[in-house]
Symmetry: C2
Subunit: 356 residues, 2 copies
């Protein structure tokens, strides 16, 4: 049946994103979306872009969006690449730097898309075990035989490395690409953007899907030296010249310019996270110190898989992976305060305990 | 400088799309965009989708858009794949069926993205010379040693093969993928969609960028048997789960459902094309019989390259390639009647002739 397929695809295991249910209304704490809507200015910009010019191709270089990213980050335009969500940027980076047998190190617990990119682009990945407490063993990423791919904060562990450790890794791999995936950085970790002008082997990837509440619009970006940005453009322009549509470019640029809304929203998520973490600890959960918009929790008495199922039956979606090292854990996205109160009450009920 | 790049990228020549000028207002007849705006219903749908749900990821399977494509084409949903413009769909198809040394035949004059896909995915392409009149030599595409890639109508030649010839090619390559790129089919050629249920080696690719006036929104689709659709989904989900954003899905679906607007618009473009073709013939141009929204013209006395430059100076952009077999030709997109009258007057002036 698959005889026409490229042979390496036949057993390829694609990435499986968190469920996007259609059957009923859930409290959706499974895909790390933001519980708050995007900036009203982003919505206004989308509406303003809904005009006759949609007949024209977008700017393939995303000029106006790159302007907004430059303002947001303080970096020059020449060090920025805009793409269709950070997943596209990550895929382009794997193709540009880690293809066809190139080596890269990444933690064994990390974003589950990395092994998929590695499979389709032929990266020779060495998975470095994270420590027992899920922190990243920094020393193991110095003098990598190839590049380094690291989410900071890491997913799904929620734990972050301090900037000094990231700099040690970047400085410890001259001439080898260090990719830092900062999808969740706005929820309490330190960005490595400030190192871009100092190191020519650092690629930092960001998204508007999380802190900017724009998962539905598909926009992300990369920061690196001109040589790195040129490589991403080369791959992109060999595949699809226009991946970010006119409306996404306009909406994303407006969201980045509404700093105040961004600051307010991410602080609300952080505050809710701290309250939810305390309540779950009160129910006996153990967890990593989250610098993300999700918690990575385990309960000493109640198996994660059963809890996942019991929550689903009650209309609450969280994320569970039946994979080594994480199968006793749940990843719970931070919703509104009300969402998290409902979650905590449901868990308390499932555990047969009163809320503390 | 490029030592970190994957070695095959260093000399890769990306696709170069037609110019999207920012310096001044041009009459833009260089990228085959539709001169008319998208359906008002598409604009309304985009505006309606500009809401708080943009915080959520889109449906990665583009369910509601696939519904609209199924209605538009009369095919079952299981035979449809929706993507970020037909360029993305083509890239996924090259990766899925023509990667890593797989063979494919394509005309030597064709969409200039095909050689770029071939380079980045490692397709072993045999370029079959088109006839002197730019028609495709059908017999040369029977019993291909690998697959077949064919734009119908072809670009930039504008010429189309009749459906019977397409069927001969599909039937003449059992077990080998025949990819028919129908980006321009709505301007007068016959679609091969009706063959999908009969042949399991046929992949037909479409776009909303041309006849539906939605180049700015990035939406296209593929039609094929379930096995072919599964291959496209496998590659897509190894690269980026959500390439078509919420707003594009909504706008594209609404455009497809506004059949009346679509029919009116494409007929207007066809009528303008016939008038423009007659006027240019009156100025001494020779051309292929266009079934597309562009003309592929040559003038026996005036070099195409000089005409391209002279038109640009007058604020009119057309497309010119300094490539074998086409360097004496211009590709002129069909604009409004007024655009084309301005073009014809400018050319008459450049040629030093009166308009006929």
């Amino acid at each position: 049946m698959k005889e026409m397929w490229s042979s390496d695809l036949v057993n390829m295991k694609p990435y499986v994103p968190g469920e996007q249910p259609k059957d009923r209304r859930y409290i959706k704490l499974n895909t790390n979306e933001n519980p708050y809507p995007p900036s009203p200015k982003a919505i206004e910009a989308v509406i303003a872009a809904a005009n006759a010019d949609l007949r024209l191709y977008p700017d393939g270089e995303c000029g106006l969006l790159v302007d907004a990213i430059a303002e947001f980050t303080g970096l020059p335009r020449t060090r920025i690449f805009a793409g269709n969500g950070s997943d596209e940027v990550l895929a382009l980076a794997f193709r540009a730097f880690f293809a066809a047998g190139a080596k890269a190190r990444t933690p064994d617990v990390g974003y589950s898309f990395y092994p998929v990119y590695a499979a389709i682009f032929g990266t020779n990945v060495e998975y470095v075990p994270v420590n027992e407490d899920y922190t990243v063993p920094v020393g193991r990423f110095i003098d990598s035989p190839g590049g380094v791919v690291l989410a900071n904060p890491n997913a799904p562990t929620a734990a972050a490395l301090p900037l000094a450790d990231i700099e040690r890794i970047v400085a410890g791999n001259p001439g080898r690409l260090v990719l830092i995936d900062e999808a969740y950085v706005d929820f309490g970790a330190e960005t490595a953007a400030g190192l871009i002008e100092k190191y020519d082997n650092l690629l930092v990837v960001r998204t508007l899907s999380k802190a900017h509440s724009l998962a539905g619009i598909r926009a992300g970006w990369a920061m690196g030296c001109e040589n790195i940005i040129a490589a991403l453009n080369t791959v992109k322009n060999c595949v699809n010249s226009y991946t970010v549509d006119r409306i996404a470019q306009a909406g994303a640029a407006a969201a980045l310019r509404d700093r105040e809304y961004f600051e307010t929203t991410r602080r609300r998520v952080i505050a809710t996270r701290e309250r939810a973490a305390a309540a779950l600890r009160g129910l006996g959960f153990e967890m990593t110190e989250s610098k993300s918009n999700f918690l990575f929790v385990t309960h000493p008495e109640f198996p994660a898989k059963e809890l996942f199922k019991a929550l689903r039956e009650r209309g609450i979606l969280v994320r569970y992976w039946d994979l080594p090292r994480v199968s006793d854990r749940l990843r719970i996205s931070i919703g509104t305060d009300e969402d998290m109160q409902t979650l905590v009450a449901a868990i308390a009920d499932i555990l047969g305990k009163k809320r503390p």
